[in-house]
């Protein structure tokens, strides 16, 4: 054994790496400072200035007493929570149905594979990207202002937003569909829409159903919170109780919401397992 075992040399880190790391750390510190996260706020979590309400509570160490005990008889009263919760489901269901059914034709117009012509492709894609870039609660607030407070505006907002999400997901699936059946149908003389319906739709329909269930779940979650900006559902009650500092009632509603979200998730997972 004559060979002197040489240790592999450590690759030198490139200077660009340091620059990037430095930039990230620098931006983080800058952003945190802008947001008001300095070391002192984290350490003195309790003694935040300019909030007389919490100042006094924290000083007495009684913040928990604002949230506890939960008044269950109020929370479980039909008018207070159950009815708004049903309204939440109604908003989610109708907007999922509207959004997903409109999404089916638009997705085909938005896919390179099945678009009838280039202008349709570009226009539909641009409009949908624009809609999706505006957050869902912005839509809710805008529509509340435009057509009035309540579940009606909420259903509109979620219909629009779930349409935009659904076409994004589904048109990408259509993009990836096998083009050969479409060519075959065209070669056999089919016109555009019948060709797409018979040769592309069957191959992507299972994905459509899966995405539709996913959008429904998103809508349930969104419809819980859109009430915070006046668009109906259970969030309306949360906002009402929050604005009068009834935090114990608010916590009760939040516990119910938490349960509902978990149950919906379990049900949806079970349905999807059966589908697949």
């Amino acid at each position: 054994m004559t060979a002197v075992s040489t240790r592999p040399t450590k690759p030198k880190p490139r200077p660009i790496g340091f620059v990037i790391a430095g930039a990230i750390v620098g931006f983080t510190i800058f952003a945190a400072a802008k947001v008001g996260f300095t070391l002192t706020t984290v350490i003195n979590l309790g003694n935040l200035p300019d909030n007389p309400l919490t100042d006094t509570i924290w000083d007495k160490g009684k913040v928990w007493s604002l949230f506890w005990p939960i008044p269950w008889d109020w929370v479980l009263d039909r008018h207070n929570v159950i009815d708004p919760l049903l309204e939440t489901f109604q908003i989610a269901i109708i907007s999922s149905i509207i959004g997903c059914s409109l999404a089916l034709p638009i997705s085909f117009a938005m896919s390179r594979l099945t678009a009838p012509n280039r202008p349709t492709y570009f226009v539909s894609k641009a409009v949908m990207n624009l809609i999706r870039a505006v957050p869902d609660l912005f839509w809710a607030k805008l529509l509340v202002v435009a057509i009035g407070v309540g579940a009606f505006a909420g259903a509109w907002a979620l219909s629009i937003f779930s349409l935009a999400v659904m076409v994004k997901l589904f048109s990408e699936t259509v993009d990836g569909a096998d083009p050969r059946p479409l060519e075959a149908a065209r070669a056999a003389g089919a016109r555009h829409i019948p060709a797409v319906r018979t040769s592309v739709l069957p191959t992507v329909f299972p994905a459509y159903v899966a995405y539709a269930l996913y959008v429904f779940e998103l809508n349930i979650r969104a419809s819980i919170v859109i009430g915070l900006v006046g668009a109906g559902g259970i969030g309306r009650v949360v906002e009402a109780q929050r604005s009068v500092f009834q935090y114990d009632r608010m916590l009760g509603i939040l516990v119910i919401m938490f349960g509902v979200v978990i149950i919906i998730e379990q049900v949806s997972v079970a349905i999807r397992k059966r589908l697949v």
């Binding site: 952003a31 049903l86 309204e87 869902d136 529509l143 997901l169 608010m250 979200v261 998730e265």
Partner: protein, 287 residues
């Protein structure tokens, strides 16, 4: 003799069953929404009227009043929240991975991730704002706490799918637990995990814009104010700035993610992968 292939979309009974269920659900839902025919007819007109008021958007006054500053504040909130989530979720993910942590440790950590994921960040923010008072850092904290759930779950999955070889290699040279994690696991998962962080950042930019609407700072508060004052031309400006910033961040972050994962920042056909990642990050799996 050629036989015609059978249709694959389910039998007629199943199809009409689904149709009936959907129809009943739709009717029940509409019955609860306080919809009258007159309201339905006037809604598009009302919405269109608002859109007309918004254009042309009033940029001159808006920039003076700091819309750009507000939207940047939203970005800072999202960034801070993502950093908080990243630093909390990575160590927790190690504690939740099947191939690293013992069951008594990983089961509670996983349940923690699931529980966090079930609470929307707006709800976290509502509770936090009640305690801390209005302000951007409560928003950042809410985003950070909520993102721990999704990032933790995804990082755990990344850690579980690694190659065990490098860990054994480190072990065979006498490396302890820390060295195994640092040199055996971390290099394998870091690219994936960082791309998840970036994706979460994109989602958090939207989330922080929304959090402003309930008082957690950023562009959302500006939107609500201008809408309350019926300054529709200013609302138009807010919306345009938001859309531009959101799309710019999405594009930039997507390019960086592609560079990290695929080694090139050029766009390739990765659309459906994005879709899967999107669903993963929002906490819901597709099919």
């Amino acid at each position: 003799m050629t036989t015609r292939p059978t249709k694959s979309l389910g039998g007629p009974i199943r199809k009409s069953g689904v149709a009936v269920v959907l129809l009943v659900a739709a009717v029940w839902s509409i019955s609860g929404l306080d919809v009258s025919l007159s309201r339905l007819a006037s809604a598009p007109g009302d919405a269109w009227a608002i859109v007309r008021f918004m254009f042309p958007p009033d940029f001159s006054g808006e920039i003076e009043r700091g819309v750009i500053g507000k939207v940047l504040e939203s970005v800072y909130i999202a960034w801070t929240g993502t950093i908080i989530a990243a630093t909390l979720s990575l160590p927790l993910a190690f504690l939740a991975a099947t191939n690293i942590a013992p069951p008594w440790l990983r089961v509670p950590v996983r349940q923690l991730f699931n529980a966090i994921r079930a609470v929307p960040e707006l709800i976290v923010a509502v509770v936090l704002l009640a305690v801390t008072g209005l302000g951007p850092w409560a928003g950042a904290l809410a985003i950070g706490l909520h993102s721990v759930g999704t990032l933790g779950k995804l990082s755990t999955e990344a850690i579980e799918s690694i190659d065990q070889g490098p860990i054994e290699a480190v072990e065979s040279t006498g490396g302890g637990w820390t060295s195994r994690m640092r040199w055996g696991v971390l290099p394998q998962v870091l690219p994936t995990v960082i791309s998840y962080w970036l994706f979460r950042f994109e989602i958090n930019v939207r989330a922080s814009a929304v959090l402003g609407m309930i008082g957690a700072g950023g562009i959302g508060s500006e939107l609500v104010q201008q809408l309350n004052f019926r300054n529709f031309d200013a609302v138009g400006a807010v919306l345009i700035v938001t859309v531009v910033v959101v799309i710019a961040i999405d594009t930039l972050s997507a390019a960086v993610r592609r560079r990290i994962i695929a080694g090139t920042s050029r766009s390739s056909r990765s659309g459906s992968r994005d879709a899967t990642a999107l669903s993963d990050l929002t906490g819901i799996k597709i099919g």
